[in-house]
Amino acid sequence: MTEMSKIVKTITNIAFPFVLIYGLYVISHGHLTPGGGFQGGAVVASGLAMILVAYGSNWAIKKVKEKDLSIFESLGAIGFISLAILGLIFGSVFFKNFLTGKEILFGKIPEFGSTIANINTAGVIPWMNFAVGLKVIAGLFAIVLVMAYGTRHLKGGA
């Protein structure tokens, strides 16, 4: 894909930080508000795809390699499974929420009913959200980047 006009690039430069912040907010507040790792990761990955479309795949492939994205995706998957296995070690079963009730590291328990949102709750769920968010960001952007770069031999591509 070739790069697009200056108008598109300028609008992308303005909109990209807000998309990024919104996606990271959805990931980090997954245990309080609707959304989570998958949804926020999809938002961030679509922001990165916007950059890719505006600046062209030849520019993007110089900045980031798909091998690095694969490493980040594998790190997310390993973190997710490690948290589940830590639940098996410190708790009783696979996917046991072993951090809840510990008062540290997102370990508080909120009162019953609708309470004020406290980000220091939910035990292992925010960590799993971060791992899945990293995995989805890297995975979806790797798919989009590689597919965009694969069109370079076609007519109209560069």
């Binding site: 997954g30 609707p34 995706e73 997710f80 589940a84 929420n97 909120p110 590689v146």
Partner: protein, 93 residues
């Protein structure tokens, strides 16, 4: 005229459509599930057991974490397949 294949397709389609229309009239009303025991348990206990204010996330990442593991595996497989098929090769291919 219509071939046997067309007639079979129309018959199959009408059977499926009739089944779906029939199921609309026998479905439970919105907001009143047939077996509310599991819903009530999760609504009453998810904050105390998992600490998450968001009940949906407590189900996705705690009660049914194995489902999320499968979902992550599907994504991992998709990324591995796409990167393997469209990876960069040497210039003179």
């Amino acid at each position: 005229m219509f071939s046997n294949r067309d007639l079979f397709g129309a018959l199959f389609l009408s059977v499926v459509a009739g089944f779906l229309i029939f199921s609309i009239f026998t479905i439970h009303p919105f907001g009143f599930p047939n077996t509310p025991e599991m819903d009530d348990y999760i609504i009453n206990n998810c904050q105390e057991e998992t600490g998450a204010n968001n009940g949906v996330t407590s189900v996705v990442f705690d009660y049914r974490g194995m489902d999320t593991l499968g979902e992550a595996t599907v994504l991992f497989t998709a990324v591995a397949a796409v990167v393997m098929l469209l990876r960069r090769v040497k210039k003179n291919d």
